[in-house]
Symmetry: C2
Subunit: 680 residues, 2 copies
């Protein structure tokens, strides 16, 4: 480069340099370290290196760009434009040559490390940098006078053309190498897997010639009850399909401990559960590929997040040690494995699997994934992250320190162990309001936007019916019952006489509250029973006690904000959760939902290698608090049994008419030792 060479300025990076006339834009970008994609290595095939030159005066840069600053549209670009279409103003970076001073914009889709926008508004974007990339290489033909293996020449070509040295290949790919090279006339597209910067790159797939298809990854959230997967395009980060199926291990036990028991009581039981979940994963992979119209062989990466018991059963490790103190994991570190080692036969046979690290015997890779997604370790304020499920995982922390624990909430929050409970599905009551004056309820069901007292509700729900009450519905119902004076602080449902509502009817020695009665039409009678209240009290006490334990450990009495994670977390009403005492009090605008943060964490690890290193590092710094043997957990648990707030805890939540405190049974319950902390 000399001072008389044209000046090239790339946007948005601002990188600039002088290059001799005739230098292709892609070459200049590479030399300057500009993030400009290319799969074919500048051969005018892949079109990944599209750029947008800017013309006119750029006083900021001190240059004037004329139409002659780049070489004219050439034959390769014309052919590409005719066949595929180039957006107006676009050029192929490998074809357009620098003729004069020029300002060149690299549009987002041409960046290698493009940002993937996440749906949740508060969430950071994911920088795309998956472990597997595609490269087109031209391999020298064999020469018997300079003998070398086809693989060795392929490896040399990858190094010479892409700077990637030391390729390795598993046997099945070596076996497919020779036909592919000859079919592609010594030009092949490689999928190369490099688990982390500096690791040995491994050949994962080979296609003759230029491979026009994409490569894909599956981010899998393997829960005790459901297995959810996102299918992502590894070149764009786009989620093509999301799908979930039931975990077939449910037949061996609804919750984790009953599955551990099954493994302990039945020889071969763990292997049986491993086989079941692996078969389901294959079904899920096949189904999601079909749904998205992607060849299963094009799925080359998978990431897994799961709790420790699911983790061990996925890996084929007997989870027996996780069922008893000291809850020792066989391995806690992240794992990078051939997906085939996990029995994943439905996807590319050379695909890789990355399993996020576990935090402890009760706090698994799912909690690590939540941390990766919600980043408590980067938070300036003190954040409590609650991932509600059959087992709840809690993270509390900020930049200085992050604590974690798990809490055995049981399945009540998922609608199980509730008399009219059901999973969140069309027909399930998900929102509830009770008029404090009339004690009459109104509700909404999944699949219908109308409230039950609005016109057209009956018609709109005729197809699904009103079948039961799901987790978010029961939480709202209990909180509303408390605020409507139907429930005292100890959780006792009052009689019709005590409450003044005929909806409170006796059942055995206690009372129930009738939410919906379709029995006249042969439908169900949906009531909240005293047993339902007790189940919710147990679950919310466990959750709250976990949070309190972390707050004790942190030496704080309040948190700055609360994040509700998990598919269920997304549907919980923060107000009702606080009325119920599920979570510590916090200003309502500081309680947010992160959706399926564990699944998002799996997707981040799928799309970004550096995130893997990051979470491995973060997990080592998280302090685990063990609830199972901590006496204060029991204290907090007992103390948290009450439902303290007869009104919404913050003014902005308050109903128009504050209600009197009621106490139906002066002999017990009450607010116990629970400390009240109000703010705002």
């Amino acid at each position: 480069m000399s001072d008389s060479d044209p000046l090239v300025i790339f946007t948005p990076s601002g990188k600039r340099g002088r290059f001799p006339v005739g230098t292709p834009v892609l070459t200049a970008a590479r030399q300057l370290g500009v993030d400009l994609d290319s799969v074919c290595g500048g051969r005018g095939i892949c079109s990944k290196c599209q750029v947008s030159p800017s013309f006119g005066e750029f006083p900021k840069h001190g240059v004037t760009v004329t139409g002659d600053s780049l070489s004219p549209f050439n034959a390769v670009e014309k052919r590409y434009d005719e066949k595929r279409g180039l957006k107006p103003g676009r050029r192929l970076g490998c074809q357009a040559q620098i003729m004069g001073d020029v300002v060149i914009d690299v549009p987002p889709e041409s960046q290698v490390h493009k940002q993937v926008v996440r749906k949740a508004a508060t969430a950071r974007a994911i920088t795309l940098d998956p472990a597997t990339h595609l490269y087109l290489v031209e391999v020298e033909e064999p020469d018997m006078h300079e003998p070398s293996g086809d693989f060795e020449r392929l490896s040399a070509a990858l190094e010479a053309q892409w700077g990637i040295a030391g390729l390795t290949a598993p046997l099945p790919l070596l076996a497919r190498l020779q036909p592919a090279l000859r079919k592609g006339d010594w030009r092949v597209t490689l999928a190369v897997h490099t688990p982390r910067a500096g690791a040995a790159p491994e050949l994962l797939e080979i296609w003759p010639g230029f491979y026009e298809g994409g490569i894909y990854g599956l981010a899998i959230d393997l829960g005790s009850t459901t297995i959810a997967a996102h299918l992502c395009n590894l070149a764009t980060g786009e989620v093509l399909a999301s799908s979930g199926i039931m975990n077939p291990q449910i037949r061996f036990g609804e919750d984790l401990m009953s599955r551990v028991s099954y493994a302990m009581m039945n020889p071969g039981g763990a292997a049986e559960m491993t086989a079941a979940v692996r078969a389901a994963l294959n079904d899920l992979a096949q189904g999601i590929a079909e749904e998205a119209g992607v060849a299963p062989d094009a799925i080359v990466e998978t990431t897994f997040v799961c709790n420790p018991v699911m983790h061990h059963l996925l890996l084929g490790i007997d989870p027996v040690e996780l069922g008893q103190a000291p809850f020792a994991l066989a391995t806690s570190g992240a794992l990078n494995l051939p997906a085939a080692a996990l029995g994943l036969s439905a996807i590319n046979p050379a695909a890789h699997a990355y399993i996020l690290p576990c935090i402890a015997g009760h706090v698994g890779a799912d909690a690590a994934a939540v941390a990766l997604s919600e980043e408590p370790h980067k938070s300036d304020d003190l954040v409590l992250i609650v991932d509600v499920g059959t087992n709840a995982e809690l993270l509390l922390g900020n930049r200085a320190r992050v604590l974690a624990c798990s809490s055995p909430t049981g399945p009540a929050f998922e609608g199980a162990q509730i008399s009219a409970g059901q999973r969140a599905a069309p027909g399930a009551i998900e929102r509830v309001e009770i008029d404090p004056a009339t004690k009459a309820p109104r509700f909404r069901v999944i699949g219908c936007e109308l409230w039950s007292d609005e016109d057209g509700f009956d018609a709109a729900t005729a197809a699904t019916g009103i079948t039961g009450i799901c987790g978010s519905g029961i939480i709202e119902a209990v909180a509303e019952m408390r605020m409507a004076g139907l429930l005292d602080a100890s959780g006792l449902i009052g009689s019709a006489e005590q409450t003044g509502s005929a909806r409170c009817f006796p059942e055995g020695r206690t009372h129930s509250y009738l939410l919906h009665d379709a029995s006249a039409e042969g439908g169900p009678r949906i009531a909240v029973t005293q047993g339902d209240i007790r189940a919710i009290q147990l679950a919310k006490s466990a959750l709250y006690a976990g949070a309190r334990l972390l707050m004790d450990e942190m030496g704080v009495d309040t948190v700055d904000r609360v994040v509700l994670a998990g598919a269920f977390g997304a549907h919980i009403s923060p107000k009702h959760a606080m009325v119920l005492g599920m979570i510590p009090d916090a200003p309502l605008d500081k309680v947010t939902s992160a959706g399926n943060a564990a699944g998002t964490g799996a997707r981040i690890a799928l799309c970004n290698r550096a995130a893997r290193a990051e979470i491995e590092q973060v997990v080592r710094r998280i302090t685990k608090v063990e609830t199972a043997v901590e006496p204060r957990f029991q204290e907090h648990f007992v103390a948290a049994n009450a439902i303290p707030h007869a009104t919404a805890p913050f003014p902005e939540l308050a109903k128009t008419t504050p209600l009197p405190q009621v106490n139906f049974n002066t002999g017990g319950g009450g607010e116990g030792g629970r400390r009240r902390r109000r703010r705002g």
Copy 2:
């Protein structure tokens, strides 16, 4: 260490240093980098660290060693001595503490990198440094307040106690980890595989407590016809058993090219041959383990040497490209694989396989193994190494340069395509002499030390009979016929009239020479036919032409020495080989046999990791000469057809009565263009 601390001198290394009183000898040895073995890490369990203190005056070292220089025999040593017996004067290095100046000898069996003596007198010893070692570690118990996986604590223990960081483990071992740790009460013996210095160590096997058994390796020479294996103790280098079986691929074709043809003509044919050889390898491994009384699971390492076609078929790669120019290998580099990837299910499931690099499409890992064993690249004089088989591999070189080629000799040297030919087995004629005066033969058969004209021969061979003639026998027969004037320089057998021997009898339009006739007793009639002579001429011409081609390339007319390698090479008479013109002339004492050098190379690679790196390096520097397309090879081949030496080529080989040159057919043959070079 201070100057007043006792001085410790280790022999034979001469390493020395001062250590505080009370330092265990093993600790001192480690700090000085003395090569002193230990599996248990100084816990007084393994007894590998035995040392012999020396007493008295050591003027050379300037010390006087008294009986008080080491701590007294302690309880651990007494118990070990009672249970297992310590040789007189021996101490356990981990128990004996330094009390005063002392000279300590490390006996060979206590050295980690002990020398393994090889049988062949000329061969260098092998320095023991296998890729897999045993380590006893004590692992911290899990603590739920400091949660970490059992594997992570195991890995930390290995680093703290042995300095080995970054352990990885395959899934099946992770699954077995927890029971082993608990059964061994947090003390386990690990087999750790580290393919080369600096590579990530991998957990290969785990035993609860201290594992007293050994670990073993298989060095496998996978030939077209036979598969041979040595079972070695990886801690001592000792060969416990050697065994061979037929390669079952023979049913798909006797020679390499017919197997390649089979793969080309039959869909799935290559896979069929792969399955056949893998099944045979499992049988072989099982058999040899049984023979040696070793548990198959204790076999943790394997090395393979083989020609390129066998190489590809072992790996499951279709060898079709090896059957046509330019003979491109799918991969030429060394391979380090899980043995399970080669279908080796009979040995430890986590065992490793190392396959030596190939030199070229016709010169395989077997030739590389010969180079590793015979080290032409370290030779001061110019050595020609000939590995005779169905395909012969030739190496020619010295420190400056090494050349290699292969030559298609065909199976005649192995007794195939010979009228009375057979494999080398009891009953086969292996040595032949023909009296130049009487033209009568005498011979020896395999399994009997007597010559056929000696007393007791008939009785000694009654059990086996005289069944045919093997490769070395036919070579000697043809050479002797030539020296006895039964054969002219063109290879034509004379008639009874021409030779004056009634043993020459007409068969069709040519003559045969009767070697042995047992037809009267219903036995075979063993003769050398004209066809046999032609077959041997073709084979020896190919071999000789290959050697000449290498000599041309090297620009030499003679070689300093010749090494005959291969099981067959060990049985060839150098004199007869030179009379026949199989090999270039060289002084007789410069023609040596290396036995199964390829198998030895496999054994070296098994016992010594550095040798793997060495041969990978050497192979890259070997210049391949391709015979198949080299016009001079054809010229040399045609020119080498004659059998030039009517007498032994060197005085020391000459028979008492030199014989006249004969030429039965003046119309053809003769000595052609063959250049004669005599020395001595």
